[in-house]
Every structure is written in structure tokens, then in C-alpha cells.
């Protein structure tokens, strides 16, 4: 004869029954497989964290010194001495490479000539509804599912969560990603961005980005904003209707992988210059 019992203790006991220790074979299989995972290239692609901060600073200092020394040498030969640096050119038209910089050391790529994207390959994002182009030596990974704010903002988008473009010179890999998300009704751009960059602990800004540090940009005729973070990434945000489109480069400005492109920002700007949004009305002129 069955006795009547409260079901919850039975369910709790049933749930707790079963193994709780990871079998040694599984642990061993995991650890053995680590060595065969193509991780080095993958991890280098989307994060420039292999180098310590000290190494990065040292590398940046070496590059700055080398460029400075080379500049002095070249200009000295041309103008007869360091004073030649300030000597205006006699040529009539402004040279793209000598355009004045409003922020000479912080954002040198803003004043640099844009990268040529003429030979870049077109890419249509079927997941997020935009077109973009990427360098012909790079590869593209297509998004297969929508990016979800609540969870996906915690990390660089995984494979499938965003369109990824991977490439770079001599194995110094760099990644650029593009994705989009719906902005909840009633959420302002600043509120969305603040939440996006909110520290995971719930307070403060992540990676040193606040709405005050965002810089304006234009993407396909639409106003956008760019954030260069202390987490070695630069991201562009374009709000169109109830959508926000995000394009990010996962390398620091001085990372060696982006030096041949003139820096991370200049490379991201090149990608942005090829963007066309599909699911919106024609871009304002």
C-alpha cells in the first residue's frame, strides 16, 4: 500500500542521485585534446592579449622611437636639419599623409589617409542585413544566430553570433566583427551604450568607455559613434530605427597585427567605409 508523501523531497532526492565526479578518463581526454586544439591562431585573432601591457608599451615605444628617428633622418636630409619639419611644402595641394592632425598622439589614424578598399571582397550579412567588404586575403565567418544582449555582451561574440572577418599580415592575426541587435522600445542610445559597457559587477564602466568618451563617425550616411576601449578593442555603433549595428575590431591601436594597416582605428574605418545597411531606407545624403 502506498503512503501519501510530499512530492518535493522525492524529486529532490531523485535529482541528487547520480554521479557527481568527473570521470578520470573524461578529464584526461580534455587535457590531451587541449594540445591538439588550434587555439593559438584562434586566440590571437580576436584578442590582442598575448602581449603583456609592459610588452605592448615597450613595443609601442620602440615603434614610436623608430618612426621618430626615421622621420628626423628623412626630413634632415630633405630640409637640411630638424627645422625642416616645420617648413611648409611648396606643393599646392594638401597631401593626405601630411594633413594636420587634431589629436596627434591619441588618434593618429583619424588624420591618416583612408585605406583603399577597391580590391576588397563584398560580403552580405544575411543574419543582420548589411553589406560590407573585407580584404581579399582575409576570411569571413558568417553569423548563424542572433546576438543576444543579455548574454552575448559579456564576451567578444563567439563564432556564429556575429559575422567575423579574420586576417592579418604574417600570422599576426586580427579580427573584425559585425552584428546587430534590437534596441528595446524607450531605450535611448546613451542608455543602451551605457548598459552595453556597464561593468559586469553592475556599476561603473567596462574597459574605460563611457558615453563621454565616444567619438562621432558616419557609416553609410548614418551618424554613429566609436568607442576605443582599454580592453584592446574599438567598436562602432550605428543606431537606425530600433536597431543598433555594431562593428568591432579586436585589437589595440598599437598592436603589431594592425601596424601595416596604420592602426586599428584606420582599419576599422576602412571596413566602415564599405558598409551599406540593407533593411533601412536609403541613407540620408
Amino acid at each position: 500500500m502506498n503512503q501519501l508523501r510530499d512530492p518535493d523531497p522525492i524529486i529532490a532526492t531523485w535529482l541528487d542521485d547520480g554521479p557527481v565526479d568527473l570521470p578520470a578518463d573524461t578529464r584526461r581526454a580534455i587535457l590531451v585534446s587541449l594540445r591538439t586544439q588550434p587555439r593559438a591562431r584562434r586566440m590571437a585573432i580576436l584578442r590582442g592579449s598575448f602581449m603583456s601591457s609592459i610588452n605592448r608599451l615597450a613595443t609601442a615605444a620602440v615603434i614610436v622611437l623608430a618612426v621618430g628617428a626615421l622621420s628626423v633622418f628623412v626630413l634632415s636630409n630633405r630640409a637640411g636639419g630638424p627645422g625642416g619639419i616645420a617648413t611648409p611644402s611648396a606643393s599646392s595641394g594638401p597631401s593626405p599623409t601630411t594633413a594636420p592632425s587634431s589629436s596627434p598622439s591619441i588618434a593618429p589614424t583619424q588624420s591618416a589617409s583612408p585605406l583603399s578598399t577597391a580590391a576588397w571582397l563584398p560580403f552580405t550579412s544575411t543574419q543582420y542585413g548589411y553589406q560590407i567588404a573585407y580584404p581579399p586575403t582575409w576570411t569571413a565567418e558568417r553569423a548563424t544566430r542572433n546576438w543576444v544582449f543579455a548574454t552575448d555582451r559579456l564576451t567578444v561574440p563567439l563564432s556564429g553570433q556575429a559575422d567575423h572577418f579574420l586576417g592579418g599580415p604574417n600570422g599576426n592575426q586580427v579580427g573584425v566583427s559585425g552584428w546587430a541587435a534590437d534596441v528595446p522600445v524607450g531605450t535611448s542610445e546613451d542608455a543602451w551604450l551605457t548598459s552595453y559597457y556597464q561593468n559586469d559587477a553592475g556599476a561603473g564602466a567596462k574597459c574605460g568607455v563611457t558615453t563621454a568618451t565616444l567619438l562621432p563617425t558616419i557609416v553609410d550616411g548614418h551618424p554613429g559613434r566609436i568607442a576605443t576601449s582599454t580592453c584592446d578593442d574599438t567598436q562602432a555603433f550605428v543606431f537606425i530605427g530600433s536597431r543598433v549595428y555594431v562593428f568591432a575590431i579586436w585589437r589595440g591601436e598599437t598592436d603589431p597585427s594592425v601596424q601595416s594597416y596604420g592602426g586599428a582605428r584606420r582599419l576599422l574605418d576602412a571596413f566602415l567605409s564599405t558598409v551599406t545597411f540593407q533593411a533601412v531606407s536609403p541613407s540620408p545624403s
Binding site: 512530492p7 524529486i11 531523485w14 547520480g18 573524461t26 586566440m43 590571437a44 598575448f50
Partner: protein, 183 residues
């Protein structure tokens, strides 16, 4: 300590990652087993989750969020295992729960069978929420982050799972239906 391990593993230190496997492997396996109710598939899911974690760890922005991030990879691996085997299992009879028989007399064989059947009828999404909350003891907000749904959906799934299991016991005649209260 743990954060430092994550940072070292993120930078390619497989020894540090091994320590993370040792720290988190048991709980991950315990969760995966209870979602999938199958030893081998749980092992596969845990292995997939850790290998994906190793590969994707450099993309984790905040090392302090390693645990929910790992659990998220684990739950997704469980979903994938479920999908992979769904067709196969749908063509064969419903297998009994693949685990050690409880020595606890409060759970009879009939109880176990009823709960196993009811649990296997739940979607893996419902199972995951139920296991993460009632076995792993995670708060609803963290579960919402792990499974990628709003907290209201977590509550709904939890409610549905509990109600289904209670109903299974009641239908089996083992418990007092008046105590099988709706949540």
C-alpha cells in the same frame, strides 16, 4: 586566485586551464549528467564545453565571469548533445535512466521511473533551468544569463518543470495529490 588562473589560461597557460578543469569539472559533469540523464553524453558535453572554453577563452572580457560563461558553454553543449541524439533515441524505446540506482528508500523504483519518464519529456531548455536551480543552486538571475533568456522565462520554465515532475508522481499514485501543489 581563480581569476588569476583564468587570466593565465586565457593567455595560453594550459597548466592553469588544467587547474580550472579540476576545480569546475565535477560540477559541470554533475550538471550535464542531470540535464541529459546519460553518462556518456554528459561526458561528451563536458568535454565539448571545456574544449570550447579553451578555444574561446581569449574572448572572455571579464575573467571574473568565467563560471557563468563556462556554464553557458556547458548548457549549449548539452543542447547540442540532445539534438545529436534526438533522432536516434526517438527511434528506439525510451531508455531507462542511465545511472546508479538510488539507495535512498524515499525514492522507490516506481518513483524513479515516473520521474525519469516525466523528465525526459521535458525539453532540454526546461531541464537545464531545473537542474541549474535545484541541483547547482544557482540564482535565477544567473541562470537567465547562462541560458540567455529573460528571468521571467526562467521562472516559467522552472514552474513548468516542477509541475510536470510533481504531476508525474501524482499520476503514478505515489504521493498525496493535495500536496502536489501548483507553484
Amino acid at each position: 586566485m581563480r581569476t588569476r588562473l583564468v587570466e593565465r589560461a586565457r593567455d595560453g597557460d594550459d597548466v592553469a586551464f588544467t587547474e580550472l578543469v579540476d576545480m569546475d569539472g565535477d560540477l559541470c559533469y554533475s550538471i550535464a549528467y542531470r540535464i541529459l540523464r546519460d553518462v556518456e553524453r554528459a561526458q561528451d558535453a563536458v568535454q565539448q564545453a571545456f574544449l570550447l572554453a579553451w578555444r574561446e577563452l581569449p574572448r572572455l572580457r571579464d575573467p571574473e565571469r568565467f563560471s557563468p560563461w563556462l556554464h553557458r558553454l556547458l548548457v549549449n553543449a548539452c543542447y547540442e548533445e540532445h539534438r545529436r541524439h534526438r533522432r536516434w533515441t526517438s527511434r528506439i524505446r525510451a531508455l531507462p535512466f542511465d545511472g546508479p540506482v538510488s539507495a535512498d528508500p524515499t525514492v522507490s523504483i516506481d518513483d524513479r521511473d515516473a520521474l525519469d519518464r516525466a523528465f525526459l519529456r521535458l525539453t532540454p531548455q526546461h531541464r537545464a533551468v531545473f537542474v541549474l536551480h535545484h541541483h547547482a543552486g544557482l540564482p535565477l538571475a544567473e541562470i537567465a544569463e547562462i541560458v540567455g533568456v529573460p528571468i521571467g522565462t526562467v521562472k516559467s520554465r522552472l514552474h513548468h518543470a516542477i509541475r510536470s515532475l510533481r504531476a508525474a508522481l501524482v499520476a503514478d499514485g505515489q504521493v498525496d495529490s493535495t500536496e502536489a501543489r501548483p507553484a
